[in-house]
Amino acid sequence: MAAPIALTTKNWCLKYGKTEALKNLNIEIPEKKVTAFIGPSGCGKSTFLRCFNRMNDLIDNVSVEGKIMLYDEDIYDPRVDISILRQSVGLVFQKPNPFPKSIFENVAYGLRIQGKKNKTELQDTVEWALKNANLWNEVHNRLNDNSLSLSGGQQQRLVIARAIAVKPQVMLLDEPTSALDPLSTLKIEELILQLKQDYTVVIVTHNMQQAARVSDYTAFLYLGELIEFNETTKIFSTPKEKQTEDYITGRFG
């Protein structure tokens, strides 16, 4: 693969207690491309995604083995500052989770944590992030309204604006549209295609057509294993593994 690699996992394993959820995963995720994780429920997509910003650290009982590199930084090195890691690797969940604050404060949140206080700088960055999340036109005259007054689709774009305000390198999206109607879904998909101009995007999706539409690379996971990883066009036209073929065409395994 020609593109530079943003994320690399080496023999990556994760256990919940004694249960192996991820088994020896080796993958290279290209920079500024969209990579989709697909696979049946419970195969470990979300678990894997959460590894890239160490969200699993918050769960008791989790043990990991192997290595994950963000460029040449080992993100599980004990010296890594996790809050900085989570700024450079943003995570967006299935259900939009804006804070019960104003639209402006939601987007400014990460900047304030970074210690930014200059009012015009905050305003400029909030505007920039909202524009990049394709939300500015809908909210510019109501920035002080509570974010919970927005529709689901708008909330999801707000959460994305919040993540990009701190200028991450990687955006992780865990089924970002499964709670949205088809039109809001298309808007998020458009946004994802824009985001990859500046960020590396990894998306978990149940919706195979969505993976086909937005991603450049697709990884098929099954029972905690990486079965196949390739260009999306290859996966959806001529997958190499029978398990992949059966899954994407809807056949019995």
């Binding site: 195979m208 057509q209 086909a212 959806f236 036209s237 001529t238 997958p239 073929e245 994407i248 065409t249 809807g250 056949r251 019995f252």
Partner: protein, 235 residues
């Protein structure tokens, strides 16, 4: 993959739709073979009525073409097929249009026969020799299609050389008779031979679609020897 492929989808309705497509295609292939037999018979028996019957068969083929096209189009619209399903539908639709063209050629040949009231015996023999060769070639192709047989398809492609040789032979034999045949008649005889050659090309296209469905490799523009190298188990 093919034999149980069209019954293994989780959706029974989808299995039915795919089987319906393949069944229609098989019937269309049989109808084209019937038309081919009629065309050869009309040549052999110098019978304009048989030639007329050959022409009429075109309508049946058109109907299959329309039905298969519509069903394939529906499946594409409603099911968003991927991978093997997508390749199956694409190759079925392409096969359908090649069968349709074969039927057109047979119609044109029949028309040329019908318009000629006197065809010399030695010319009839030339047509029958070549026509039976092409008919057999198409028949083998359709057999390969019914079992999605990559080996048999590769053999069809391998036989391109001998089919071309048959064509050249028929042309040479026709040209050798140019002293006894007037120009108008000669040009319509050459037209018939050319029509048979086109049918052989269409048959070979179908063999290529079978390889595409099974192997996921587009060989439409690959050289004969490259195809043989990749897919033939004997060479």
């Amino acid at each position: 993959m093919a034999n149980d492929y069209f019954s293994s989808h989780i959706s029974e309705k989808f299995n039915e739709e795919l089987s319906q497509l393949t069944e229609q295609l098989e019937k269309m292939g049989k109808a084209v073979m019937t038309q081919f037999d009629l065309a050869l018979q009309s040549i052999e028996e110098k019978d304009p009525k048989l030639a007329k019957k050959t022409l009429k068969k075109e309508k049946i083929i058109h109907n299959y073409d329309i039905q298969i096209y519509e069903l394939g189009y529906q499946i594409m619209a409603l099911r968003s097929p991927v991978a093997g399903d997508l390749r199956a539908i694409m190759s079925i639709l392409q096969t359908t249009s090649d069968l349709e063209r074969i039927s057109d050629e047979l119609g044109k040949i029949a028309k040329a026969i019908k318009d000629k009231n006197e065809i010399p015996e030695d010319i009839i023999h030339i047509f029958l020799d070549y026509g039976n060769g092409v008919c057999d070639y198409l028949n083998r192709t359709l057999k390969a299609l019914n079992s999605y047989d990559v080996q048999a398809s590769t053999t069809i492609i391998r036989k391109k050389k001998s089919m071309n040789a048959l064509y050249l032979e028929s042309i040479q034999k026709l040209m050798a008779l140019n002293k006894t045949v007037d120009i108008d008649s000669m040009s319509s005889y050459l037209f018939i031979a050319k029509g048979l050659e086109t049918i052989a090309v269409n048959a070979r296209n179908i063999a290529k679609y079978i390889i595409f469905f099974e192997e996921g490799i587009d060989v439409r523009h690959q050289a004969r020897k490259d195809i043989i190298e990749q897919f033939s188990q004997t060479s």
